[in-house]
């Protein structure tokens, strides 16, 4: 089974979803303000370090080497975690991971869990799976709480409610907090401090009552079996330390070989994501410890398409991602289309290369994602592990239009091109012929020049996509080629 979360099934293709988002003025305003603010701050935070380029190269290299020997480091990690008193579970896909976690929670006899913000659990749709078994999951990250209370979907990796402004958040708190626990105080305003306080009070009773915590992790150290959660709010620290049972669901690509490797990422991650020199809370735990923290610790290692992605020489670099979200914040397409248009918990440039690999390109939205970019390269520039996102996008475009060999569930299979590219393919073939026959090209240019007076100002059909907002270029009276021949004659 694929890792598609039910929430996203039936999403329209990116261009259609993006078109609606572009028309939404409030959304555009919220996103523009938020992304530009964090974009500028990140640039300053990064510029402070004169060894940034070397840190970036080191991050890339550590991840590359780890991915090359992933099997080795995962086995080492399992041994270390087990030796430290934890239990390791292996989940091949979303369904298996959900069954494991649900089973573990049920065994505790509890029907409530508190959650640290985690991309992996969103990817597998864990909250929905728990709910189906009568278990309520409370999100404790502020932005995640806003999304959960608003019955919404996350639109950003780091700030899932980035599409909401203060006024909208106040309205959500006022309307919904009561049905999830402690209601919002009467007369709650849209002042950020008041909103944060309302969330704090609402969440506190959940922390104090919780017996089961569920988290992801930013890093797992193979050598020591240590897991690392990096955060700003401190809610994670509560969820990781107060409950009796802690269950962490982590993608297999999050492993790093040694403790020392963290040196690189604990510098690059906060500066790239929140533009902080150091994030306020870094929680690290190694298995279980007597009379301190959870008594039972379970690590669920999630594959869900990652091994298949690893088999692709160009695409595998997406697995280096440390989910900092710098590429989202700098992306001009994300800024205008918003996160929801990407139809996945992974929006923005990284989502555009990750989702079509983790989920395949069978669905309309996944096949459209590699095209959700102007290839401007801003994402590659900021990526702290130097993922060449434009290179992967073009690589995946080829998969969409040509099909070919991919790895699915560990098997090499040949997939067909995605639907809807037949006309384009014919045009490209014709262009290949014409461009490789300059005589034909010349004839075409001459014809276009002769008929230039009768060229329309707006195009019908698919050409409208250009001419609705842009004037058509006027075809000149003479191509360069003809000018050269006329004026330079015999010269080459």
């Amino acid at each position: 089974m694929s890792g598609t979360s039910g929430t996203y099934l039936g999403m329209p293709a990116f261009p259609a979803a993006a078109r609606d988002a572009v028309r939404n003025e409030t959304l555009r305003g919220n996103l523009r303000h938020a992304t530009h603010t964090i974009r500028d701050k990140r640039a300053k935070a990064v510029a402070e370090l004169d060894d940034w380029a070397r840190l970036r190269a080191a991050g890339r290299d550590v991840k590359e080497r780890t991915l090359r020997h992933l099997d080795h480091y995962l086995v080492q990690l399992e041994e270390s975690v087990t030796a430290a008193g934890g239990t390791v579970h292996w989940a091949a896909d979303a369904g298996e991971a959900n069954r494991i976690v649900t089973g573990l929670v049920k065994r505790t006899g509890r029907s409530e869990v508190v959650k640290v913000k985690s991309m992996a659990t969103q990817e597998i749709g864990l909250n929905e799976a728990l709910e189906a078994e009568g278990i309520r999951a409370y999100e404790t990250d502020l932005a995640e709480l806003i999304v959960q209370l608003g019955d919404d979907r996350p639109s950003h990796i780091l700030v899932p409610a980035i599409h909401r402004n203060r006024g909208e958040i106040r309205d959500i708190f006022r309307a919904e907090m009561g049905s999830w626990g402690r209601a919002a105080p009467a007369g709650l305003s849209d002042d950020p401090a008041e909103l944060a306080e309302a969330a704090r009070v609402h969440l506190r009773e959940k922390f104090l009552r919780a017996e089961v915590g569920i988290s992801g992790a930013n890093f797992m150290v193979a050598e020591t079996g240590t897991l690392v959660v990096v955060e700003s709010e401190g809610n994670g620290r509560m969820c990781l330390t107060l409950p009796e049972t802690l269950i962490s669901v982590v993608g297999i690509e999050k492993v790093v070989p040694t403790w020392r490797d963290l040196e690189v990422f604990l510098q690059t991650l906060p500066r790239s994501s929140t533009a902080e020199r150091m994030n306020p809370y870094t929680s690290m735990w190694t298995g279980t410890t007597d009379s301190d923290g959870p008594r039972a610790f379970h690590l669920v290692l999630l594959d869900n398409g990652r091994t298949d992605t690893l088999a692709d020489e160009v695409g595998r670099q997406a697995l280096r991602c440390i989910r900092c979200s710098a590429c989202l914040n700098v992306c001009p397409v994300y800024e205008r289309a918003g996160g929801h248009a990407y139809g996945s918990v992974y929006p923005g440039p990284i989502g555009a290369i990750l989702s079509p690999q983790l989920r395949g390109i069978a669905s309309e939205v996944d096949a459209s994602l590699p095209y959700a970019s102007s290839l401007c390269g801003a994402c590659y520039d900021v990526c702290p592990v130097a993922i060449d996102i434009p290179e992967v996008l073009v690589h995946l475009r080829e998969r969409v239009v040509e099909g070919g060999e991919v790895t699915r569930n560990g098997e090499r299979v040949t997939i067909k091109p995605a639907k809807g590219h037949r006309g384009e393919r014919a045009v490209m073939r014709a262009a290949r012929w014409a461009l490789d026959h300059p005589g034909a090209l010349r004839a075409g240019q001459r014809l276009a020049s002769r008929t230039r007076r009768i060229h329309p100002k707006r195009l019908p059909g698919p050409g409208r996509a250009w001419s609705d907002t842009r004037a058509l270029p006027e075809v000149p009276a003479e191509s360069f080629r003809h000018w050269w021949q006329r004026t330079r004659g015999g010269a080459r």
């Binding site: 572009v22 390269g377 801003a378």
Partner: protein
């Protein structure tokens, strides 16, 4: 010095003025310019849309067309970047698909000789004052491929700063993509248009009479957007500015 002009298919067909300007400029600087007729398109639109295999004959054609030259100069940041970044990839993938080294070798010959115009002027000819005259207020849009792929850096700006009469106006948000992106402009027309509108707005806010760039394709999108908004700002390729003199002014 003798160089081959790679004019690019967009300039050839839609913006021949750009190619003519390069010829005039380089000849004024004492360079002998030739135009090998066998040249065609670099293959960027096909490659970037996912049709790598359709690009392969164009890599071979590029190699053959310019075989006799030490320098190939092109007035297009994105076409230069296509050759430099993607030709080696195309060659490597063909080799990996068991089709031999020929394409990789063709790419290996094409890459070191290909220069974007401002690179050629500053790095090879070593000039920044090309004796140009352009008495207008101009704003410069650094195109994505020029800025981030080729790393043109300050080269275009240094050239523009030495143009007599030219007043360079800072473009707010200069590093942001204009929204062209080749087939992106039609495949994601709504987002592309929104990006173009923001760029046009930024350009208008400078009060400049012209916006210049190193790429005609971006300028077609920017110019088309400006024209549809009824703006009087003109899109001008940097080659046309550098080619203009008091004797032969921009027309």
């Amino acid at each position: 010095m003798r160089v081959a002009l790679f004019v690019t298919c967009v300039n050839d067909t839609l913006s021949p003025r750009t190619g003519q300007a390069v010829v005039r400029l380089l000849e004024r600087l004492g360079v002998e310019v030739e135009f090998p007729q066998a040249q065609s398109c670099c293959g960027q639109p096909q490659f970037n849309t996912g049709y790598r295999h359709e690009t392969e004959p164009l890599v071979r054609r590029f190699d053959a067309a310019f075989a006799d030259y030490e320098y190939v100069v092109t007035p297009s940041g994105s076409c230069a970047a296509m050759v430099r970044d993607n030709y080696p990839r195309i060659g490597a993938k063909a080799a990996a698909e068991g089709r031999g080294q020929a394409l990789a070798e063709a790419a290996g010959r094409a890459v070191p000789k290909t220069y974007e115009l401002t690179e050629f002027l500053v790095d090879v000819l070593g000039v920044t004052d090309v004796g140009a005259w352009f008495p207008y207020a101009v704003t410069y849009h650094p195109t994505c491929h020029g800025l981030r792929l080729l790393g043109l850096g300050e080269r275009p700006r240094r050239l523009l700063e030495r143009v007599k009469g030219l007043e360079l106006r800072e473009l707010p948000g200069a590093q942001e993509c204009c929204g062209f992106g080749g087939t992106f402009a039609v495949k994601n027309a709504a987002v592309s248009a929104a990006m173009g509108a923001d760029k046009a707005h930024a350009i208008e806010s400078t009060g400049a009479g012209a916006v210049c760039a190193v790429d005609s394709s971006c300028l077609l999108h920017i110019g088309g957007t400006l024209a549809r908004r009824g703006s009087s700002v003109r899109p001008v390729h940097i080659a046309e500015i550098l080619a203009a003199t008091e004797e032969e002014p921009y027309a």
